[in-house]
């Protein structure tokens, strides 16, 4: 590659090959991305914090290793972005909130230390909805992120900064987190690939907790192979997270990727094709289903009868867990601290000033549904319906390898369009939330364009069968070819 500037367009795999052949240096890759960030971040606002010096330092260290033939692996020397909900030692970690505006994390999240050990170059921390609560990145204290495909539109959320950064080539890949669609919906809106791993597949130690029975960390990348690379590195048991599972990722091989689709059983859950699905999204997803069929996949109609209840279930369980997790922000041990006349006033003022509206709403809602007299009617009921939603998926795996669905009912909406009515914003998550409720993995990838905006599809798999999802997704990616401008 003669044009050093164009290096930011590379995928992780491509960059790795050039690094291995000593055709580019990690410092060149880092500089290409940092220049791109400098040029683009003003308008897109994908990064909250960029640590140029530290990035160039770790890139130089990677170059030293590579020069002496000791490259650590596929991520060594590769520049990545990290959602600002993951702790990074010595770096400001805000979760998009005013209450953590000046918080410097004293430790690394496990996924961050794992990436560092693999030699990855961390460019900075990406923008997000406050405490990952939102579907548009508009609730960030640091201002909204814009969708690189249309700056008047949202990039989705809550991992909108990571999605926009990858789509605008500001980094080669990124980490996001997904509680009800926060990796997948922005991936769909920005035309990139995102994976919400199986609950328990990736450590959450150092992830600022939102809803602990739902949260997962996952990759956001330019293509499927890159997502697989990052996932294979960050997944596995961590003694610091007791919910992480003993799990070792095993890639499914196969030379002819398209050939792998032959005979695969792809389930189409009819419920996902209601839920307010717009015609332009439906058309792109149905085209993809036809492509799968032409490649020899078996298309099987499936019913997941409790799908329509998943969102209501989510909006009880999630706020309940939020209200508990965010009780720790008391202005005493870290974060914003308001003086107050006495102890109670200090709490009241710190939390009033530190939290934005969406966070306040969810803390209050969660406390209400957990309170005496309402616990059985709301929380306990929701935990029972969760069992029914999960059982729908358990039954599906007896018939199919993966399920294929749309990701969102409609195309990316305009900034400001949905901020005044929380419930309208919540309905954005109607096709992604059931997956977190069931705890299963799901990958989102682009499948077409409509009115100049990307449309995504979602491949849902059985727990800990990410390898099957990746195999099928790679086959479809090959079949589909390039999408959009580039």
């Amino acid at each position: 590659m003669s044009e050093r500037e164009g290096l930011y367009k590379l995928t992780i795999l491509q960059a790795g090959e050039l690094l291995d052949r000593h055709e580019v240096a990690s410092v060149d890759l880092a500089n290409a991305c940092l220049n791109r960030i400098e040029k683009k971040n003003k308008e897109i606002n994908a990064f909250i914090t960029v640590d140029k010096e530290a990035a160039l330092e770790s890139a130089a260290a990677a170059d030293k290793r590579i020069k002496s033939g000791k490259r650590l692996g596929v991520l060594d020397g590769v520049p990545l972005g990290i959602k600002d909900v993951l702790s990074q030692k010595g770096v400001r970690t805000t979760a998009g909130s005013r209450i953590l505006e000046n918080y410097i994390s004293p430790f690394d999240a496990t996924v961050v230390s794992v990436l560092k050990k693999a030699g990855a170059v961390i460019l900075g921390k990406t923008n997000m909805d406050e405490f990952a609560m939102g579907s548009s990145t508009e609730s960030s204290y640091f201002g909204p992120t814009k969708n690189p495909w249309d700056l008047e539109r949202v990039p989705g959320g809550s991992s909108g900064g990571s999605a926009a950064a990858v789509a605008a080539d500001m980094c080669l890949g990124a980490l996001g987190s997904d509680t009800g669609g926060s990796i997948r919906q922005p991936a769909a809106y920005c035309g990139i690939v995102g994976l919400k791993p199986t609950y328990g597949a990736v450590s959450r130690y150092g992830l600022l907790a939102m809803a602990s029975s739902l949260d997962q960390v996952g990759p956001m990348t330019k293509d499927v192979a890159d997502a697989e690379i990052i996932f294979s590195i960050i997944s596995g048991k961590d003694s610091m997270d007791s919910t992480s599972s003993n799990y070792e990722y095993k890639k499914l091989d196969g030379d002819n990727l398209v050939e792998n689709l032959k005979g695969k059983k792809i389930g189409i859950p009819k419920e996902f094709f209601g839920l307010g699905l717009k015609d332009n999204v439906r058309k792109a997803v149905e085209n993809a289903i036809n492509d799968f069929k032409k490649a020899g996949a078996e298309i099987i109609d499936i019913s997941l009868p409790h799908t329509s209840y998943a969102l209501a279930t989510y909006y009880i369980i999630m706020p309940a867990e939020v209200s508990s997790n965010l009780a720790r922000f008391d202005g005493i041990r870290y974060g914003l601290s308001e003086e107050g006349r006495n102890l109670i006033d200090g709490y009241l003022e710190t939390r009033a000033k530190g939290f934005g509206n969406e966070v306040k709403r969810r803390i209050m809602l969660g406390t209400y549904v957990l309170s005496a007299g309402y616990y059985d009617a709301y929380y306990k009921k929701a935990q029972k319906v969760r069992t029914l939603v999960k059982a729908d998926y358990d039954r599906a795996w007896e018939k199919v390898d993966v399920l294929l669905t749309p990701v969102t009912p409609s195309l990316p909406f305009k900034i400001g369009e949905k901020t005044s009515d929380p419930l309208t914003m919540y309905l954005e998550d109607v096709m992604t939330v059931p997956i977190n409720i069931a705890g299963v993995p799901a990958l989102v990838m682009p499948c077409g364009m409509s009115n100049g905006l990307p449309v995504g599809l979602q491949l849902i798999g059985k727990s800990f069968e990410e390898n099957k999802i990746f195999q099928i997704a790679k086959g479809y990616e090959m079949l589909r070819g390039k999408i959009g401008g580039e």
């Binding site: 209501a312 009880i316 109670i344 319906v385 069992t387 999960k390």
Partner: protein, 96 residues
């Protein structure tokens, strides 16, 4: 389910968030609307259905009660505190 301004005031105090009169109005309308939406679960038959406590099916995870030293000092851990007194977090008087 309707949450009144007084309900909101009470919940806000429980969660230690001071709210303005305008917020009381907004939150009362918005939270009532959300509660109405989630109340659709009442129509789901959950007789003989157990609650999902852990989606991965894992139960209690035990480890040895042994201190494992991390590569971090207490001073570093407390470095974000607004106010310290020696090696302690400083708080306002609890009992007046």
């Amino acid at each position: 389910m309707e949450l009144s301004r007084e309900d909101i005031e009470h919940i806000a105090y429980l969660v230690r968030i001071e709210i303005t009169d305008k917020e009381k109005n907004n939150f009362s309308g918005q939270l009532s609307e959300i509660l109405n939406y989630v109340s659709q679960l009442e129509s789901v038959d959950t007789n003989n259905v157990l609650e999902t406590a852990s989606v991965s099916g894992s139960s209690n995870v035990f480890r040895e009660d042994k201190v494992i030293l991390q590569d971090i000092t207490p001073k570093e851990l407390m470095s974000n505190a607004p106010e310290l007194f020696d090696d302690y977090f400083k708080v306002k008087t609890v009992l007046e």
